[in-house]
């Protein structure tokens, strides 16, 4: 079917189109050149005056895998407030802070997002993560595999193993779990918690393996670099949430010595400890450093006020946070000598000093970091807020007046401690298109997504221009996924399956012999069964595996 979108106003930063009027043609799921005038257009949409962007890409959203499912099970009271009945084009389920899979896909699509990436897939839990994501309709998916707390790696490091061995192991893990990237969470800390360590700073020693988070970080970063993965190491650093961790974050940036690194949910890592309450914003210092460090990219992990649930691999942190749980229930799990997970429901309150300042810190980061190609829009769903708050967040970034209005309602001391009211920057549509489309695609190596050039996947979103950007971004006029119309005026019209994005780095097979011995001696699963095969993955219901090239350096 040949589809024509006529006279849209295009925002495609990859092709430097900043609001230019063009036609877009789609066929067989791809964007094509304008066809010969003799060809019959099957379907034409006149979208004069409408804003057109590529499908949105969420680089960091917890949508699949054990901890997300635990989060779902943990909050029936939240689901009960948002039941979703099935209708002809969509399955039912429940929504709000951790929606069920079908609802997740549909709500993303309803906002014009067409690809979402699960940032913390445990190797031992990769099957579940992929199966859950296969039940998320419409959007493409992919995952970063969690490393840096697995006993095998920590053993290698403590034995002073060669970097090449570690690089091979990283590559093996990526392939065994069908991942797109590598994430590290509280390097060594999750493991240390299993040995009853309650804190682990960047240069503190793990009680058993006698290595430091710094060495784990450096080694994984090097491995990712050597393998030439498109996406740099995705880092959730030490000391999340602890006042004074802004210093840890600056040290972490320095620790990788110029290698590329992605710092995730930096808002939670940008806390100073000044002032009476020993809690202040470290956003300015961090933004300044990041502005001067082209090797660093980040996502923010903005918080929004209201009920949410925090789901993290960081058991050390989450066990500490359990006392703040709301409602008062927490799940902590130690997992398979591999990692862990911690789930803590949370209510962010605008009248609470710390929460209000967290909100300010997130926005300060957005507004102080200059290069939209290196900062991505996230709430670290569901940790800072559910992803459904993105349109609101976009409005906060694009509309200073609105931002000040919201700010006025916050805890007065938090307001006084933030420079937010002095920040005049307003994001443009072009910048939003960069940070939510072009930049994440580039960071993840998705060459055919995030733009509207010829040959790109036909993931296209058409917005009605509105002064109220929240309204505009919450209800696109049309959303096309791989050339299929999936949303029209906020209604789901079709629920096709997306693809899985992954990388398949090469490695020296001898690592498998070593792993074989390790598995037999310690594990409860056989090496062969640990691995998730292509056929198995496709059997879950995804249409294709989209493999992105690695460029070993």
């Amino acid at each position: 079917m040949l589809i024509k979108l006529t006279n849209g106003t295009i925002f495609d930063p990859v092709h430097r189109l900043d609001g230019e009027q063009r036609n877009i043609f789609m066929e067989n799921g791809r964007i094509i050149r304008a066809p010969a005038s003799t060809r019959k257009i099957d379907r034409e949409y006149d979208i004069s005056g409408h804003v057109v962007m590529a499908g949105g890409i969420d680089i960091h959203t917890h949508i699949g895998g054990g901890k997300v499912n635990i989060a779902r099970i943990l909050l029936p009271e939240d689901h009960q407030r948002d039941p979703v009945a099935p209708s002809p084009h969509r399955r039912g389920g429940s929504g709000h802070v951790v929606p069920s899979t079908f609802v997740t896909g549909h709500r993303y699509a309803e906002m014009g997002f067409t690809a979402c990436f699960e940032p913390a897939m445990l190797p031992a839990n990769a099957r579940q993560a992929h199966m859950e994501m296969a039940d998320i309709p419409i959007v493409d998916a992919g995952a970063y595999v969690l490393m840096g707390n697995d006993d095998f790696l920590l053993q290698l490091l403590s034995q002073g193993a060669d970097q090449s061995l570690i690089t091979d192991y990283v590559a093996w893990t990526i392939r065994a779990t069908q991942a797109l990237g590598v994430k590290v969470v509280n390097p060594g800390g999750i493991s240390a918690f299993k040995f009853n360590q309650r804190r682990l700073d960047l240069d503190e020693q793990h009680a058993v393996y006698s290595i430091t988070p710094r060495s784990i970080l450096q080694s994984l970063c090097t491995a990712v670099h050597e393998l030439g993965l498109p996406h740099p190491l995705h880092v959730h650093g030490c000391n999340l949430g602890i006042p004074g961790n802004d210093v840890t974050t600056l040290d972490t940036i320095a620790a990788v010595d110029g290698l590329r690194m992605h710092l995730t949910h930096v808002q939670f890592h940008a806390y100073g400890k000044e002032g009476d309450r020993k809690f202040s914003s470290g956003a300015a210092r961090i933004a300044e450093r990041i502005n001067g460090s082209p090797n660093i990219s980040l996502d923010v992990g903005q918080i929004m006020f209201g009920q949410t649930i925090t789901a993290s691999g960081d058991t050390m942190l989450q066990h500490r946070e359990a006392k703040h749980a709301h409602p008062k229930k927490t799940v902590i799990m130690d997992i398979e000598c591999d990692a862990g997970c911690g789930i803590v429901p949370f209510l962010y309150r605008d009248k609470n000093y710390v929460n209000a300042l967290q909100w300010c810190i997130g926005l300060e980061l957005y507004l102080l970091i200059n290069d939209p190609w290196r900062i991505f829009l996230t709430t670290d769903h569901p940790n800072g807020a559910p992803f459904t708050s993105y349109p609101h967040l976009i409005r906060l970034l694009m509309d200073r007046e609105f931002r000040l209005e919201m700010l006025a309602a916050l805890h007065p001391a938090a307001r006084a401690h933030s420079i937010l009211s002095s920040l005049t920057r307003e994001y443009s549509l072009y910048e939003i298109a960069i940070m939510t489309r072009a930049a994440p695609a580039r960071s993840l190596g998705l060459h055919d997504r995030g733009h509207l050039g010829v040959g790109a996947a036909a993931d296209v979103v058409v917005y009605r221009p509105r002064k109220n950007r929240e309204e505009m971004f919450s209800r696109p006029r049309f959303v096309f996924k791989d050339g299929k119309l999936v949303v029209q005026d906020g209604r789901i019209t079709d629920s096709p399956a997306g693809v899985v994005h992954r990388v398949t780095p090469e490695f020296d097979g001898s690592i498998e012999r070593r792993l074989q011995r390790y598995f037999e001696k310690f594990h409860t699963v056989r090496l062969g069964n640990f691995r998730l095969g292509d056929d198995e993955l496709l059997g879950y219901g995804r249409t294709a595996l989209s493999t992105h090239p690695c460029r070993p350096g």
Binding site: E77, K328, K329
Partner: protein, 279 residues
């Protein structure tokens, strides 16, 4: 105006979700509008008029006649007014009720007043398990209001209760007051095993001595608990039925627990409760 009365025409073949029919939700609706309300019954949706004969107008006093156990969630989240049930009520009677009054002449099912916040429920007959308990997924049970059961109650009366008062004049089943957080339960009849397990705070007043000292509780011996005087006197002012408690003195054996959870709850066993008279 005469009270709105709904008389069940025949026994429904499956449970009917009665949550749309509360005095506050019906306020201001004409008889036709009420007749058109759809009730969920399994996959079907049935009009009120198909199930009930409707008479009267004043929805603030709703009477349900010939009620049966198939009527589920009567008085759901109700805020005001009064519901009188002639016959039996099904499960989840007065679930999350916030105010107003429900009276049942017969029996009621499980989860009477589950997670309720206020209001007043009286059941003349027996009730099933988990009166005043926490709904699944909820951390706390009943938070306010009063449940009076004249007959017997099932297991787990007041499980995870956080406020309000439950009075059972008849017998109660196992796990009475388990994981109670606050509030008051007065159980006048015989009680089953495992009383007060996991109780952290709150008061359980017992008309009879339990068969065995509840595990996790320590006795402070027989004491004059002046608080009981206050409690009984005040209860008498809300529910005339409870005025009989004025005849009790404040003498009770006080037991504190559940110590295995560091609990500060109490069980007060009345010493001069005139047990015979209560029922």
């Amino acid at each position: 105006m005469t009270p709105l009365s709904l008389t069940l025409r025949r026994n429904p073949f499956a449970r009917i979700d009665m949550s749309p029919l509360t005095p506050d939700r019906l306020a201001g609706l004409g008889r036709d509008a009420i007749a058109r309300i759809m009730l969920a019954c399994g996959r079907q949706r049935i009009r009120v008029s198909e199930l009930f004969d409707i008479a009267g107008r004043d929805a603030s006093l709703l009477r349900i006649r010939r009620a049966t156990v198939q009527l589920f969630r009567v008085g759901f989240q109700m805020q005001s007014g009064s519901v009188e049930i002639a016959g039996n009520a099904g499960d989840n009677l007065g679930e999350r009720i916030q105010g107003g009054e429900i009276r049942v002449r017969g029996d009621a099912g499980e989860w009477v007043g589950a997670s309720m916040l206020g209001g007043n429920i009286t059941v003349q007959g027996n009730v099933g398990d988990r009166a005043g308990a926490a709904l699944p997924g909820q951390l706390i049970g009943m938070k306010g209001g009063l449940i009076l059961v004249v007959g017997n109650a099932g297991d787990r009366v007041g499980e995870r209760m956080r406020g309000g008062t439950i009075v059972t004049l008849g017998d109660t089943g196992s796990y009475l007051a388990c994981r109670m957080r606050a509030g008051t339960i007065i159980a006048m009849g015989r009680t089953g095993p495992h009383i007060g397990i996991g109780m952290r705070r709150g008061t359980l007043v017992m008309g009879r001595k339990p068969a065995a000292m509840p595990t996790g509780f320590r006795s402070a011996g027989a004491l004059k608990m002046e608080f009981l005087r206050l409690l009984f006197k005040q209860l008498g002012t809300v529910q005339t039925r409870l005025a009989l408690f004025r005849s009790f003195g404040p003498e009770a054996i006080r037991m504190a627990g559940d110590l295995s959870v560091g609990g500060k709850g109490e069980i007060l066993v009345l010493l001069n409760g005139s047990q015979g008279q209560t029922k």
